[in-house]
């Protein structure tokens, strides 16, 4: 049961990483800011600009 719970936590963490939610949390922590719509848009624009400047794999 503990192993299953651990697996579930890891899967959720992978999904959050893929969804950029973890990166957003790190951004808030580094910048010392609170979550808001404007803050998400600021983060998202910077993140997506870097993300889509790199080639996607075939």
């Amino acid at each position: 049961m503990t192993s299953l719970r651990r697996l579930g936590r890891i899967v959720l963490a992978i999904l959050r990483e893929l969804a950029d939610e973890n990166a957003y949390r790190r951004h808030l922590a580094v910048q010392g800011r609170e979550h808001s719509g404007a803050e998400w848009r600021r983060f998202s624009e910077e993140r997506l600009r870097a993300k889509y400047a790199r080639a996607k794999c075939c």
Binding site: I10, A13, I14, L15, R16, E17, L18, A19, D20, E21, N22, A23, Y24, R26, H27, A29, V30, Q31, H35, S36, G37, W40, R41, S44, E45, E46, L48, R49, A50, K51, Y52, A53, R54, A55, K56, C57, C58
Partner: protein, 679 residues
């Protein structure tokens, strides 16, 4: 305990050998797919435990006491120490593209055996080693890109050529994946409606994320998935409706133009509006479907219907022309070795590795997982009746323009199929016809539907077929729009040297001009594929495979140079052996594609045949021009990579003779202070 552990590893290795031997030697009866699964899984586990760890310990001397760039340069953005399982998932999601799904399906025309053996052996000794060594090299060099490492380790020429090669590969890649989608959706109102519905769904998700629930990506993606799922269900009613079906029944040319317009809009529109939400959604759908396919194969354990070898090993295949050597290896491409992975391994991933030893599961292990995806695609293709497989994948120009003619040709090859069987199958999956659906996606979808529908019968076959088509088209279109955008950035960067305003990402005329140029480049090849009487895949997929493998030769040249500098000749064989193989395969394939006297293979022979036929129409002239253009593209790519190889060989000889700089350009050792609880 040690003895038990050793016995266990011996058992796994013996199981790998037995299953591989069984797959290779069993003849005259259908073999169960579980043999392939076990052969692949046991080989991967053994290779990971022994070869991967040997490379890590002896060759790279990975050291967890050494701080990684993620720790030393930590900034909360690019550089961030990340849990190894999370990073493994992230890296796998980044390297998993359509290549390992489509390539094996096409290569199944030789039978299941050649492709399966290359997928397993190629990944273990080539692809995974390339990914791993490049990841290691980048991690020891502050996360530098492949281009920068090529420039530093080999010379300026190598770095520049790597950039140009990537741009050319992208143009060919986007055209060929666009063609796969076109062939999957042509004349299919159900499929076209489903994919069309993903556009408003993505726009809704874009606004939802930006204005209504900022930051809730997982929540938004879950809603998006429900909507896309509903659109797959709704597609059945659209296809059955006399009023709506004609609106979504598009010809191949109309679809190609639609995809070109979409690519342009996605490149020019703000990224949050369309591209990013589609990308989130397609990543989750992709991972989910790959997982479902693995579970489906394990539960259904279907028998393979295709033989180990088909008659087409002689090079007369209807899907693509050419013998097993070199075309099986070129066609499989990313399922065994992918040059593009070296860009990911020297991109985001090395900046996020917390401990050096994490590079083993992430660099070596991820490629083994990707290879396993290719094995599953091979199984999905081979569970189809051979006659059905060839009827779906063969172009009309080869088998005959009518269902009756095509069925007769394929049956004469020894793969019985009738027009009535195909008509019933098409009806079961909600299509008007399944003949001439080249490109691999429809046959993969049929195979997947066959596996998923084991419990529901033909009643659910149509749903699963269109679900699989949706999954393939969704993430192929994501590659198309993201690739166009990346190509635009590269072009803006290049053109800014001549006209500085073109380099400004916010200057709309520049954005529109460069987007149009990139879209026009791949759009040209896409239209070429649509007009090709042989279906387009015959010329474009090998071109893509060759270019992808040529990029892998650049990556392996860089890797070999680094290993030579670290250890002299002692361990250079680790990357030099796959490099030598890839050079042999790609240059043979490239040479044959240009100069083979057989028109089905050689571009120039094809152009000569068309010219000799004497038809002076504009369409024939275009076909002649296209064949010569393909030959030129192939020649340029080979010439560029030959320059990198020559430059690398010059450096290697210098290192071995002691006349060249053998200085290893690694970042200095800094002790790690990272605590276990931080990762």
């Amino acid at each position: 305990m040690k003895l038990l552990s050793r016995l266990l590893w011996v058992a796994i290795a013996v199981a790998a050998a037995l299953c591989l031997g069984g797959v290779a030697l069993l003849r005259g009866e259908h073999i169960n797919s579980i043999w392939l699964v076990l052969a692949a899984a046991c080989t991967y586990i053994t290779a990971y435990r022994f070869y991967g760890r040997f490379v890590a310990a002896r060759v790279m001397a990975l050291d967890d006491r050494r701080a990684t760039p993620a720790e030393r340069l930590r900034n909360g953005h690019d550089f961030e120490p990340t849990n190894k399982w999370i990073l493994l998932g992230h890296h796998f999601a980044a390297i998993a593209g359509p290549g390992p799904l489509v390539g094996p399906v096409l290569a199944a025309q030789f039978g299941y055996l050649p492709g399966t053996l290359w997928i397993v052996i190629g990944a273990v000794l080539g692809g995974a080693v390339q990914d791993f060594v490049i990841l290691f090299a980048s991690m020891r060099r502050d996360g530098k890109s492949l281009g920068k490492m090529a420039r530093e380790e080999i010379g300026k020429v190598g770095g520049f050529i790597a950039l140009i090669t990537v741009l050319m590969i992208m143009v060919i890649l986007l055209a060929v994946v666009g063609l796969v989608v076109v062939n999957a959706l042509k004349g299919s109102p159900w499929g076209t409606f489903t994919i069309a519905a993903t556009m408003p769904v993505a726009l809704f998700m874009g606004f939802y994320l930006r204005y209504w629930r900022p930051g809730k990506v997982l929540e938004c993606s879950a809603i998006g998935f429900v909507l896309v799922f509903a659109s797959v269900l709704g597609g059945r009613f659209v296809a059955a409706s006399a009023s709506f079906a004609p609106m979504f029944t598009w010809s191949a040319m109309a679809l190609a133009i639609g995809i070109i317009v979409y690519g342009f809009l996605a490149s020019a529109l703000p990224v949050w509006m369309l591209l990013a939400p589609r990308d989130y959604l397609s990543t989750f759908v992709k991972l989910g479907v790959v997982f479902m396919l693995a579970v489906g194969i394990l539960f259904a354990r279907p028998e393979l219907q295709l033989p180990a070898f088909t008659r087409f090993i002689d090079g007369t295949g209807p899907i693509f022309a050419g013998k097993i050597f070199p075309f099986c290896f070129i066609t499989i491409a990313c399922g065994a070795v992918s040059g593009f992975h070296s860009l990911i391994s020297s991109g985001t991933t090395p900046k996020m590795i917390a401990k050096e030893w994490h590079a083993v599961p992430i660099g070596y292990g991820s490629m083994l997982m990707e290879s396993f995806v290719a094995i599953m695609a091979m199984i999905a293709a081979c569970v189809l009746q051979p006659g059905v497989y060839f009827a779906v994948n063969s172009p009309a120009g080869v088998v005959g323009a009518t269902p009756a003619a095509a069925a007769a040709t394929i049956s004469n090859w020894g793969f019985p199929v009738t027009a009535a069987t195909m008509a019933q199958l098409a009806k079961d999956v909600g299509e008007t016809t399944l003949f001439f659906r080249t490109g691999g996606a429809p046959s993969l979808a049929l195979g997947m539907a066959h596996i998923f529908a084991r419990t529901g019968g033909s009643a659910v076959l149509g749903f699963w077929y269109h679900f699989a088509i949706m999954f393939e088209a969704l993430f192929i279109l994501t590659i198309l729009d993201a690739g166009t955008r990346v190509g635009r950035f590269m072009l803006q960067d290049l053109l800014s040297h001549a006209a500085p305003p073109l380099g400004r990402m916010t200057w709309m005329p520049g954005v529109i001009l460069t987007s149009a140029m990139v879209v026009a480049s791949w759009g040209y090849f896409l239209i070429q594929g649509v007009r090709d009487p042989l279906g387009g895949i015959n010329s474009l997929w090998p071109l893509f495979g060759i270019s992808n493998q040529l990029l892998a030769t650049i990556a392996l040249s860089v890797a070999t140079t680094i290993l030579l500098k670290m250890h002299g000749a002692r361990y250079a064989w680790i990357t030099f052996a796959p490099l030598a193989w890839l050079v042999t395969v790609t240059f043979t394939a490239g040479w044959q594609k240009i100069f083979s006297p057989l028109p089905a293979i050689g571009f120039l022979a094809q152009a000569d045949k068309l010219a000799a036929a004497g038809a002076a129409g504009a369409a024939t002239q275009t076909l002649i021009f296209n064949a010569r253009l393909d030959a030129a593209v192939c020649g340029v790519l080979m010439a560029l990579v030959a320059v990198v190889l020559a430059d690398s060989a010059r450096v290697w000889v210098g290192i071995l003779r002691g006349t060249a700089d053998a200085h290893v350009r690694e970042a200095p050792f800094v002790p790690s202070r990272l605590q276990a609880e931080e990762i």
